[in-house]
Every structure is written in structure tokens, then in C-alpha cells.
Symmetry: C2
Subunit: 366 residues, 2 copies
């Protein structure tokens, strides 16, 4: 970084430093009641997870806090990836997708992010009394199509029904099991200063598509959810850049939150060049109207890859060569410091600290 940027950051860094230390030393959950922010994927979610859930179930796989747990079976001869996600998106159907596709893609992607080949899914349905069977059938058909496309089998399931008014039509949990590729070791802990930060395409499409559908806001340009299965894109990337350090799909909380998770686990800093982050004009426009940062908006078909500098060009080419990565960009680099922070270099030569999502401006987008 230039001396000028370093200077402009000094005060922010000082302010953040104490917060960071407090956060890393111990997450304390001070809230007395659950709020929507606890489901945002941002700061409040992290406080809940680190302050209550991780300490309760303390074990190495959980503490690694990757998108999926990597566990050994069969006397360590094989590594499995195991992950879970519940889906409560509202509305159930939105431009570019629906809760069923989302539930399959989200879990397939979490498995892909730790270098696993997705294999088996479970489906747990919580249905509200009165839900139209036709709606359920449409969602299930969508899940079936998504599973076939992603090459995974739904092998086990469960259905519960709660009385009218005790749920909101339909919630889905999908859990997934995959087999981790031999030699793959993807973790935020591998990230080193000098590494490059790649993003596979435009940000904010999913969150904005759901938001606009729910609020029935009319914009001139239609925004479609980017929901897609990323396992094939990951396979192409890892073939080209086998020393890829870490992958994340920036869902709830967006790119900003995922990058903050990485720097906190890796003990490094990351600088992102704002101008290099691909944002569709319609999404940028909607964000400006709503006062939101596209870097905080959820994606469901994008990935962040941290790659060593010597493989960065090959990695970018591999992403761009795949339909789901055609708009990929190198958006930043890993720095030794400021440790635990993400810095956004703005177009006009300034910079600011890019924090995790605070609050929940877009609840229930997945």
C-alpha cells in the first residue's frame, strides 16, 4: 500500500483494533433475545455462533468454521465433508430461482468450498398447515431438477407439519455429504500475505432479486437470482490452481462478511479494489436507492478464491473459461496487516475499512 493510504487508515485502524482484540479474545453474547440480526450472517450471527454455539459443541471440525466440516471415517483413509443449511427465504419463488433450487445449490456449494465432490443430500421439510400441495410439488420438482443437474442424490428425508400460523408456508433443511478430493486442503488458515483474492462474477444479484420480489419494487431492469451449483467451477479452478488456499461462497452478509471471516481466521489483512468488484448496473442502482452496499448483499452462485500469486493468472483464466465464472475478476490481495481487517481501496484514491454486515437490512434472503 502507498504511504498515503496507510496514513488515511491510521485512525480507523486504531478504532478497530480494540474491537478486533475483544472479538478474537472472546466472543460474548450480551443479547437477551433473538433478533433478526442474529440470522443475517453478519456480526450478530457471529456473536451468537462464537459466543454460544461453538463453545457448547467444542471440537476441531466445528471450530475450523469452514463452509462444511471435514471429518475422517474409515480409519482416516477417507475424508468426508458434511454440512447443513436451513432455508426460510420469502417469497418461496423469485426471479431466477425458488427455495427448492436454493436449498440444493446452497448445500452443494458448501461442500464444494472445502474441495469435496458433493454426493448425498438429506431434505427436511417443515410445512405449515394449509400449504397448497401444488406449491409443495413445485418446490420438490425444482429440488429434483437441481439435484440431477448437480449430480447429487437425495437419499433421506423428513417431513413435519406445524399448525397454521406457527411457520411461514415452508422451511427446508438440506444437509449434505461429499468426499474431499485427495490432497485438497482448503482453509482460511492457509491464507498468506501476497495471495490474490478472486471473485467469480457479479455480486448482489440474489439478495436484490429476493428483496425486489418481496417488496414488489418495480425497477426498469429485472434482476435475477444467481443461484447455481458451483462444484464444476471449483473442479476447473482446482485443476488450474492446485494450491488454492481457500474458497468461500459469499451468501448471507455478502463478500464483505466472507472476507472478514477469512482475515479473522487467517490473521492477515485483505485490500480490495472497489473498482474491480463486478456489480451489475441494475444491482448498483437498487443498492443506491435502498442505501445498501453491494458487498453486503447475498450471492448464491458466486465464489471467492484466495490463490497464491504464482497461480493467480491460471486461476482467473480457469474461472473465466467456465460459464459460471465468465465475469471473474481479481479484486484484491492479501496483506500482512492490518491484521484481521478488510480495507476497501476506493476509486478516488482513498480507502475505508470494510466491515462485516451489521444489522439485517435484507432478512430471509435464503
Amino acid at each position: 500500500m502507498t504511504a498515503r493510504i496507510e496514513e488515511s487508515l491510521a485512525r480507523q485502524v486504531e478504532r478497530m483494533e480494540r474491537a478486533r482484540l475483544a472479538r478474537r479474545t472472546r466472543f460474548v453474547l450480551r443479547d437477551e433475545h433473538v433478533t433478526l440480526s442474529h440470522g443475517s450472517g453478519g456480526k450478530a450471527t457471529h456473536n451468537l455462533v462464537e459466543g454460544l454455539l461453538v463453545p457448547a459443541f467444542a471440537n476441531a471440525a466445528l471450530e475450523a468454521q469452514e463452509d462444511a466440516a471435514v471429518v475422517a471415517t474409515n480409519g482416516d483413509r477417507e475424508r468426508l465433508a458434511f454440512t447443513t443449511d436451513s432455508y426460510v427465504v420469502s417469497p418461496l419463488f423469485f426471479p431466477g430461482g425458488d427455495i427448492g433450487r436454493l436449498a440444493v445449490h446452497g448445500t452443494v456449494n458448501d461442500l464444494a468450498m472445502v474441495g469435496a465432490v458433493p454426493r448425498y443430500l438429506s431434505v427436511g421439510l417443515i410445512l405449515e398447515e394449509g400449504l397448497a400441495i401444488a406449491t409443495l410439488r413445485r418446490v420438490v420438482d425444482s429440488m429434483r431438477d437441481a439435484a440431477i443437474t448437480a449430480g447429487v442424490q437425495v437419499v433421506t428425508g423428513d417431513t413435519k407439519v406445524v399448525p397454521r400460523g406457527k411457520a411461514d408456508l415452508l422451511f427446508i433443511n438440506t444437509s449434505g455429504v461429499g468426499v474431499v478430493r485427495d490432497g485438497a486442503s482448503l482453509s482460511a488458515r492457509n491464507v498468506r500475505p501476497g495471495d490474490r483474492v478472486l471473485l467469480s462474477g457479479h455480486v448482489g444479484d440474489h439478495g436484490m432479486a429476493v428483496m425486489l420480489a418481496r417488496e414488489a419494487l418495480e425497477l426498469e431492469a429485472e434482476i435475477l437470482s444467481d443461484t447455481a451449483p458451483l462444484h464444476a467451477l471449483v473442479a476447473a479452478l482446482l485443476a488450474a490452481a492446485p494450491h488454492t488456499r481457500c474458497l468461500r461462497d459469499p451468501t448471507r452478509g455478502g463478500v464483505a462478511t466472507s472476507l472478514n471471516e477469512i482475515v479473522q481466521h487467517a490473521g492477515v489483512g485483505i485490500a480490495v479494489d472497489e473498482d474491480r468488484v463486478p456489480v451489475r448496473p441494475a444491482v448498483r442502482g437498487a443498492c443506491e436507492i435502498l442505501g445498501l452496499d453491494p458487498l453486503h448483499i447475498a450471492n448464491e452462485g458466486k465464489l471467492l478464491a484466495i490463490v497464491p500469486p504464482e497461480e493467480a493468472d491460471l486461476a482467473l483464466a480457469a474461472l473465466r473459461n467456465h460459464p459460471l465464472g465468465a465475469a471473474a475478476e481479481t479484486i484484491g490481495e492479501v496483506l500482512a496487516e492490518p491484521e484481521g481487517m478488510v480495507v476497501l481501496r476506493t476509486g478516488v484514491g482513498g480507502s475505508r475499512v470494510l466491515d462485516m454486515l451489521v444489522g439485517d437490512p435484507l432478512p430471509r434472503i435464503c
Copy 2:
């Protein structure tokens, strides 16, 4: 069976036969809306599962319809068990247990029923805005204790929050992965005429405990949920009776529903001696007051075992030798016919067809 019982059954058999054929030929889901019955675990649930869900995701592991799917990884050198369940029980805390213990035990037990050693759990939380953090902490602590006792690790999780009024405090999904014991092959398809039907203890405790807690009904004798992890009981049973055909934990829909599932998949009949089914007096009394059959009430710490006749005595002794099976009984036997039906031999020498649960007299007991 005696000629007399056969005669008394003739008309019922004839009536059921057409229903059975229709059911086995094709499950048709005629309902237009989801009702509480679809969550009962009984007939309506089966229509939903067989008429909509299984056809959509058609594959061998799902179609086997055991309590957990058995799948191969690692080039078939290892078999994994994978299962999922969502928990929506109301109230969250009840005599003998709570939603957290239930969520751990239920998934541990589903893995145990296919002969697997439970290893890893996922936890997916759906929280209602406004839930007290103290309540969440109590549930999570209970899950932690149950996981430690059962020897499983919670390795991955997810938290979603929905606005006030869109859920009922707290729903939990647990999915689980286990390793199937070498040589274990537990499936309803193994069941043969002549096999014995063993039940590990008193029926109906869990469903009645939840029902009484929810409705605040006062009885003289307190009824406690039987929620418990069954993997150790299964290990003892399989050591004593290695040719055990099939195991089920009779949860939603009770013993009657589980036995009906078995006869339908195995193409056999089962005769149960009503007098041999252990029922606590308090549960029997509550059932009589409420007009319910204890064989339709959910259990969360009991198992049904179908064992070959030559291993039946050893199996019963092994169950009784374990604290969780102290009240075990041989309750019936497998017959060649009436195929697809469960017959209850009553104390006075009569008999009746014991069907799956119809409707949902006790919603949200798990």
C-alpha cells in the same frame, strides 16, 4: 393362528386387501392442502412421502425407506449411514426431556437402527425473533450433554431467524452420519415368516408426556418421556443376535405404524399379542381417558427388533440385560399372511387388524 382367529379375520382381510393393493401399486396423493395429519408419521405422511417425495428423488437408498439411508463412499469399501430429522415439539421442555435432547437422540437412534455407529451430527436452528437467549442456551446445553453421552460430535451448524409469528420459538434439524458395522445388513426386506418381534420396553411414554405437558392435564402419576440414545442397546443386541433382520424405533405413529411399514416392505404379516405389549398403568389410563391406543403413541427411547427364531432368546436376554431394555418383551411373530397386515391378538381370544395411525391426535410430539 387358530382356525377361529382366521375366520374372525376373514372379512377384515377382504376389506383391507383392496386398500393394500391400491397402496402398493401406487400411492396417490389426492389432498390439495397440507394438514396436520401429513406430519403424524402415519397414513397421511406415507401418502405424502410415497406419492410425492420418493417418486421425485427416486433412488435405491431413499426407496429402501429405512430410518437412515445406507450409502457407499470410498469405492464401496465403507458404508455410511445418513439421516435427517426436524424437531418442532411443543412445548420445548417436558417431563423427562426437551427439544434439544430429543433432536440428538432421534438422529442417533435413526443411525443405530441401520446398524451404524453414530459419529457426526449437524444442527440447523430456525429461531423466532424474540426467543429468549436463555431458552436457547438451555436447549443448546441440553444438546451438548446428549451429544457427549451418545459419543457423537456436532461438527457443523446453521442458524436462521424468522420474524415474530413466522415460527414457534425454535425448530431444530439434526442430520447425522455414522459408519455401518461390517457385515450389518438390517432391512425390512430381510424379514421372514417365523421371525420373532421384540420390543425393548414400555410404549407411549414420550407422546403422552408431551401431550400432558402441553395440555396441562393433571394425572396422579407423572409420565416421563423415554427419550434416550439407543446405540449401545443396539450394539448389545447385535452382539447377541448377529442375524437380527431389522430394527425400528417406533417414534411418530407408534409401534403400530412401524410394524405396518415393516410388513408392507417385507411382504409378510405380523401377529402381535396385545397382552405382551408393555404399557405403564399411567399411560394406559391416560390413553383410555383420551380415547387413544398406546400402540399409536410415539416413543423416543424404544426399539422394535425382528430376529430369527433361533436367536430370539439370546436377543431378548441381551435387551433385558441393558438398562434401556430391562422391560423388553417378545410381543409377536412374523407370519406368511395376511401379507402386508398387522394383526392384534386380543386378550379375550379375538383379533383385529392393527392399522397405521390415521389422522393426528397428538400433533407436534417431536
